[in-house]
């Protein structure tokens, strides 16, 4: 079955049992994993289940990022931030997708940045490479250009950058 860009689907029938299914991912993540497996085995008439819960949306997003080998640090803080600024949920996949395409050999690490001197915090995605050269800044700017407009009217922020660290033991893309 083809990949379908949805947030969540729940299947149910008129009885006391149900089958839960989650299908598809945000369109931007299709480039990272072209195949998805349906988790349910039986098709029933669907009762629309819109995404009402911010925390479930955030869990699903982080699950998806982990499945695509994005290393998450300070997961609780990331979740808390995304819950406060849920309109970033739609932007995060585009940031990761842009980073993965511009840096196909990089390890991506998501973390929370907290400025030590002022009240400022935001999500950050670090690109980690085995070797760094002068081209990294230009590449970061090109990747950033793909999603910067989406952040224009958002309350929260997500920054794509590098900390010049080497990829750790976590899987690299």
């Amino acid at each position: 079955m083809s990949v379908i860009p949805i947030t969540d689907v729940r299947w149910t029938k008129q009885s006391s049992s149900f089958t839960y299914g989650r299908i598809g991912v945000e369109p931007s993540l299709r480039t990272l994993a072209p195949k998805f497996t349906l988790l349910f085995t039986t098709l029933w008439q669907k009762i629309p289940e819109q995404s009402l819960s911010s925390s479930i949306e955030v869990e699903k997003l982080l699950e998806s990022l982990q499945e695509h080998h994005v290393h998450l640090k300070n997961t609780n803080k990331i979740q808390e931030y995304l819950l406060q600024f849920p309109d970033l949920i739609d932007v995060v996949p585009h940031v990761v997708d842009a980073a993965a395409r511009h840096f196909p050999d990089a390890q991506l690490v998501m973390d929370m940045y907290q400025d030590p001197e002022i009240e400022d915090r935001y999500l950050v995605v670090y690109v980690r490479l085995k070797r760094y050269d002068d081209s990294i800044v230009e590449k970061l700017e090109r990747a950033e250009a793909e999603f910067l407009d989406e952040l224009a009217y958002k309350e929260g922020w997500i920054q794509l950058t590098t900390d010049f660290q080497e990829p750790g033991e976590e899987d690299a893309l």
């Binding site: 379908i4 689907v9 049992s17 029933w44 979740q79 406060q84």
Partner: protein, 246 residues
């Protein structure tokens, strides 16, 4: 059973939703009129486009439809409480820390009464009261049986180590008018820690099963039932982690 209070409750989000029936008139003025009535408590307004996928099995064909709808989000000053308004949908979300039921109920009553001032709700397709709990353990190695009374049973001839799990059931109430969906699944934890999500969703399963005038009474009853179900899902060992307040 008396209500239990915990010093360290696992609730990360509580959600209450009302879905008026299709014969409730709804137009583009509704969000603005609604916002005027709640903006004192919910001053920050944002918009999101939500994608909805519908797959219907007909006689011999599978039909799929993807729809986008706009949803207005109205946040409280601290952004811990929000109201979502979409076409024939109002949702009240409260994020951690969840203080008291009485506090949450006030927001539910405010949102519901504000909606009724703006539109004539002809019937209720669905009402839902959902509690999402996140329990984080300090290690990865957790025996679910020690902490939960609802968990997936794995027979001895199967691998005992799980990469991921999800277990769910729906329980009927009031002759099938209501249902409670209980779901236990693995969550995303910090490094070296296991997180478990216990999701309790009590909802009106029968369209128009409750009169519009009785909606808030239904919500109160739903809360009592969710509390009972929550207590039924956990063991005393987990209660000790939450630090019951006597």
């Amino acid at each position: 059973m008396g209500r239990k209070y915990y010093r360290n409750p696992p609730i990360i989000e509580a959600v209450c939703d009302f879905r008026p029936t299709q014969d409730t008139q709804w137009d583009l003025t509704v969000p603005g009129l609604f916002y005027e009535r709640v903006k004192d408590a919910f001053p920050h307004r944002e918009q999101r486009v939500v994608q909805e996928f519908e797959l219907t099995q007909g006689m011999q064909v599978l039909q799929q439809q993807i729809r986008s709808s706009e949803r207005v989000l109205m946040f409280s000053e601290d952004r811990k409480t929000l109201i979502q308004l979409g076409p024939r949908l109002v949702v009240i979300n409260i994020l951690k820390p969840y203080n008291t039921w009485e506090g949450f109920k006030k927001y539910i009553e405010k949102a519901w009464s504000s909606l009724q001032e703006v539109v004539e709700v002809r019937g209720l397709e669905r009402i839902g009261l959902r509690y999402i709990n996140r329990i984080e353990f300090t290690t990865q190695d957790v025996n679910l049986k020690e902490y939960f009374e609802f968990y997936p049973f794995i027979g001895k001839r199967l691998p005992q180590e799980l990469a991921f799990f999800i277990a769910g059931a729906e329980f009927p109430y009031d002759g099938g008018r209501d249902r409670c969906r209980v779901q236990l699944s693995q969550g995303i934890g910090d490094e070296g820690k296991k997180a478990i999500i216990l999701d309790l969703d009590y909802f009106l399963a029968r369209s128009r099963g409750v009169e519009v005038s009785a909606a808030l009474n239904w919500v109160e009853e739903a809360h009592t039932r969710v509390e009972e179900i929550f207590e039924g899902c956990i063991t005393d060992k987990l209660r000790a982690m939450f630090e019951e307040v006597s």
